[in-house]
């Protein structure tokens, strides 16, 4: 029994230890509380004059995951030194809906919050239009062309400052991250760099290549992959709208300002019947509907997948893995396929204003004027350069022609997440209003969009490949984007949580998830009956409620968004 006294001592130690932790914790909390109060007192005493920064802390709720910058982060330090502002970010990990529920119920809002329709609906943001008119001439100028679009369809106030999509000047891009039918470069290379326009041509190329090369690097060649896992469902759902020459409007096609769902239409049937046909020929991966996202990426990065419909950013990591294996011929080109030769492709679109994204000032904000003034300062070119490119001389160089360039070392640093935590203000930059396009000196606002930068980063294989087509970049495979319709895009319509429209939309997605794989894998003679069952089920839903809600908002946009 000698162990007993020992264990008592051990227990005591543990208790002591844990209490000391708690005491330490409490001590810390008291300190911050008082310093916060002190700040509040200070700020009340005076307005903000530039050059004489007063310390001011902004608390921010970021509605997505992110990492705290390091305490001595270079850019945030500069902001603190020159503008007197420090930030306290709260990032989200976990379910946004749950978090918003308790935030709204308790009215526990920080100074600013990233854009969210639920918060808008709950009255958590303050209207910004007067504030901007009065205190923020630069922001006003930045959003001039977009002013009406920023208004909330429900009450006409501006609550959120969009973070992306307010452009100045012509938009040119060298990188396409959106949806397309992707094909391995090797397939095109072997076929002698043909121009591929239609779906039939695409699958013919794949079929031929697969026949000739049943194995790639010792593994069976996979003709076509369709990913439908979790919320990543566009690989299965979205192609029909593009094949008839429409841009990405989510699950509707809009004609003359009128939206209708396309899942049950004949042009949708045509696509899935085609998939059924090529499946019968063994072109579709047998596991395509049971695989998870990791398995999908593994297949792509093994270099055996000839084609898929996807958005570029989604399989970016797999392509990177191919690049590190030096399998450049196994990376992909996006093709804007259509059904018929005569249809003009509309995959590449002009960036639309990113509604409901960005940030708004909460009703609890201590000093909205000071906050709006800060962003009015940050939208000016000098700060935009710092936020995007970094510090001149450290993070980028300016050549004799005045062009911004990066050395390879600087380029590498920009890909290093750890480095960025200490040297970039990515969190702030990503939700803030920003200049997009070009600065007044002609440099691109985004390092990656600087044409010299793009060319410098291009591989030999790609130079040769592009030369064969006579293109400058892979974006040239797409038809130039026409002017956006006023209401575009329909996918950004807020369906209103818990409304019939939203429920119908969820149910329709459930049906597609269940029936489309069945239809594609069915014996070709059974395809029609599965399709009929599918469309019958869809027609049992109150699709009209869904379409009506979209049309209501599109109509509102047409009436209110027109630039006067």
């Amino acid at each position: 029994m000698g162990g007993k006294s020992k264990s008592v001592i051990r227990l005591g130690m543990i208790m002591l230890l844990s209490f000391s932790f708690i005491l330490a914790g409490c001590g810390g909390s008291d300190k911050t509380a008082t310093s916060g109060d002190a700040k509040a007192g200070n700020e009340a005493s005076g307005g903000s004059g530039e050059g004489k920064p007063e310390p001011f802390e902004i608390t921010a709720f970021i509605g997505e995951a992110g990492q705290q910058p390091t305490p001595d982060n270079k850019i945030y330090k500069k902001i603190k030194d020159e503008l007197g502002v420090t930030f306290k970010f709260e990032f989200l990990a976990g379910d946004l809906n749950q978090k918003l529920g308790v935030m709204i119920a308790g009215s526990d809002y920080p100074d600013i919050m990233t854009g969210n329709t639920k918060l808008t609906a709950a009255g958590a943001y303050i209207p910004l239009e007067d504030l901007i008119e009065e205190h923020a001439p630069n922001l006003k100028k930045h959003y001039e062309k977009y002013w009406n679009m920023m208004k909330d369809p429900n009450d006409g106030h501006i609550y959120i400052l969009p973070n992306y999509g307010a452009y100045n000047g012509e938009v040119s891009s060298t990188w396409y991250s959106g949806p397309a039918f992707w094909i391995q470069k090797a397939v095109l290379e072997e076929a002698g760099y043909p121009k591929v326009k239609t779906l039939d041509e695409y699958f013919d190329l794949i079929a031929k290549y697969k026949e000739k090369h049943p194995n790639i690097d010792g593994k069976p060649t996979i003709g076509f992959e369709i990913l439908n896992y979790d919320w990543k469902n566009w690989g299965l759902f979205n192609p029909p709208q593009h094949l008839i020459g429409h841009p990405n409007d989510g699950s509707v096609v809009v004609n003359d300002g009128k939206a209708e769902i396309f899942a049950d239409k004949d042009y949708a049937k045509r696509y899935y019947q085609k998939l059924n046909e090529i499946n019968a020929k063994g072109l579709i991966d047998k596991e395509t509907f049971t695989q998870n996202f990791d398995q999908y990426l593994a297949k792509i990065s093994s270099g055996t997948v000839l084609g898929m419909f996807d958005q570029h950013w989604n399989f970016q990591n797999a392509e990177n893995a191919l690049i590190t294996q030096k399998k450049h011929e196994r990376t992909y080109v996006g093709l804007p396929l259509v059904y018929d030769e005569g249809t003009r492709d509309y995959y590449l679109d002009r960036p639309a204003l990113n509604l409901n994204n960005g940030f708004g000032i909460s009703v609890n904000a201590k000093d909205p004027v000071k906050i709006i003034k800060l962003w009015d300062r940050l939208i000016q070119e000098d700060w935009q350069k710092i936020l995007s490119w970094g510090i001149e001389g450290e993070d980028y160089i300016v050549n004799e022609k005045g062009r911004f360039m990066k050395t390879q070392e600087q380029r590498d640093k920009f890909t290093d997440a750890t480095w960025k935590l200490a040297n970039k203000a990515d969190t702030l930059y990503s939700f803030s209003p920003k200049m997009q396009g070009f600065f007044s000196d002609g440099n691109a606002t985004d390092g990656a969009a600087q044409p010299e930068e793009y060319q410098a980063g291009l591989e030999e294989y790609d130079k040769k490949f592009l030369k064969a087509y006579g293109f400058n970049s892979y974006v040239d495979f797409f038809s130039p984007a026409p002017e956006n319709p006023i209401y575009y895009p329909a996918w950004s319509v807020d369906l209103v949580e818990g409304s019939e429209a939203k429920i119908v939309n969820t149910k329709q997605n459930d049906l597609s998830t269940k029936f489309l794989p069945k239809a594609i894998l069915a014996n070709p003679s059974d395809f029609d009956s599965v399709w009929t069952e599918y469309t019958n089920e869809i027609h049992k839903l109150n699709i009209k409620a869904y379409e009506d809600r979209i049309n209501e908002v599109l109509q509102w946009r047409i009436e209110n968004w027109s630039v006067k």
């Binding site: 990591n317 890909t415 990656a448």
Partner: protein
């Protein structure tokens, strides 16, 4: 029962049982089977953890190709560097240790005390109190009312919100009560005759006798407290200095997933070829995060284990 006739052989001394002559074959056969089974079990259950370790030490860009089993193809410490890059994780670790230790100590003491009172058959409130506790296992008032309660009690953004709401678990209480039920009642009765009060009986007699089950419950509570992140997510997320290890790791993981699949960013910002070529991928971060999160709590197990994994046979139990 007992309708099989067993010829009572010469009585073997307990210590020599292993060699007992009754049936030489049976134990050997049994042992062979048992050993093979255990080896299989070890292989099958060790594999997922081992594989996670392998992934955590393999370069993200390579892991994505799949086919990684028992040995890293491209060894790297990059994933761990990414996990430890943010300074917040060290403070969070201390908070996690503090909440785990405190929760465990309070839980063990309070839950056992309650279990003791409810094991006493003569106790007049035994039934109603038991029922009230048992029912708590089967309902959940929901997120928002729970949040309001914490708010009204001024627990939001305090350390105590990790400890106070979960000081007693009905499940654990029942498990302990069942265990106490197997302790001879005579012990309690004789103590009473000696004039010992209820608390003294509980603390001096019952509590020490419950060691094996308390070690188990301590493990349950500690693992639960260590692994929980939801309270940090709901109640303290605006106070960085109160964040726990699990929540920090979760943020790290979600942000790496986010960075790789953010249509909003892809929409407007234009992701660069450069920016996307990063060594770390969600898959490898997840593996590293899992190892970092679980190894500290796994180290607790062997200490608890000695109380309940004892050798079966006579000798070893008695010691």
């Amino acid at each position: 029962m007992g309708n099989q006739t067993i010829t009572p052989g010469p009585v073997p001394a307990a210590a020599t049982y292993k060699r007992s002559g009754k049936s030489r074959i049976e134990p050997t056969l049994f042992h062979t089977f048992n050993t093979v089974f255990m080896i299989l079990l070890v292989v099958v259950t060790l594999y997922p953890f081992l594989n996670t370790i392998v992934v955590s030490f393999n370069a993200g860009n390579d892991t994505i190709r799949g086919g990684l089993y028992l040995w890293p193809r491209q060894f790297t410490l990059q994933n761990y560097k990414a996990v430890f890059a943010s300074g917040t994780i060290y403070d969070a670790f201390l908070i996690s240790v503090a909440r785990t230790v405190l929760s465990t100590v309070l839980n063990i003491f309070l839950t056992t005390m309650l279990a003791y009172t409810l094991s006493r058959r003569e106790y007049v409130f035994r039934k109603p109190i038991t029922l009230i506790f048992v029912l708590t296992m089967y309902f959940n008032a929901g997120l928002i009312p729970g949040y309001f309660l914490m708010k009204d009690l001024h627990l939001i953004n305090t350390f105590w919100v990790y400890v106070l709401p979960s000081m007693i678990s009905a499940f654990n209480m029942i498990v302990i009560r069942t265990y106490i039920g197997t302790i001879p009642e005579s012990l309690v009765e004789s103590a009473k005759i000696d004039g010992a009060g209820e608390f003294k009986i509980f603390w001096r007699i019952i509590f020490p006798l419950c060691k094996p089950v308390l070690a188990t419950i301590a493990l349950f509570v500690a693992v639960g407290a260590w692994n929980s992140w939801f309270d940090a997510f709901l109640f303290t997320s605006s106070r960085q200095e109160l964040s726990t290890l699990q929540y920090e790791l979760m943020k790290l993981l979600s942000s790496s997933m986010n960075a790789n699949s953010n249509p909003a960013v892809a929409n407007g910002a234009g992701m660069t070829q450069d920016a996307a070529v990063s060594m770390v991928t969600p898959l490898s971060i997840r593996a590293a995060v899992t190892i970092v999160a679980s190894v500290p709590i796994l180290l607790v197990y062997p200490f608890m284990q000695k109380y309940f994994v004892v050798g079966l046979n006579v000798g070893s139990v008695k010691e």
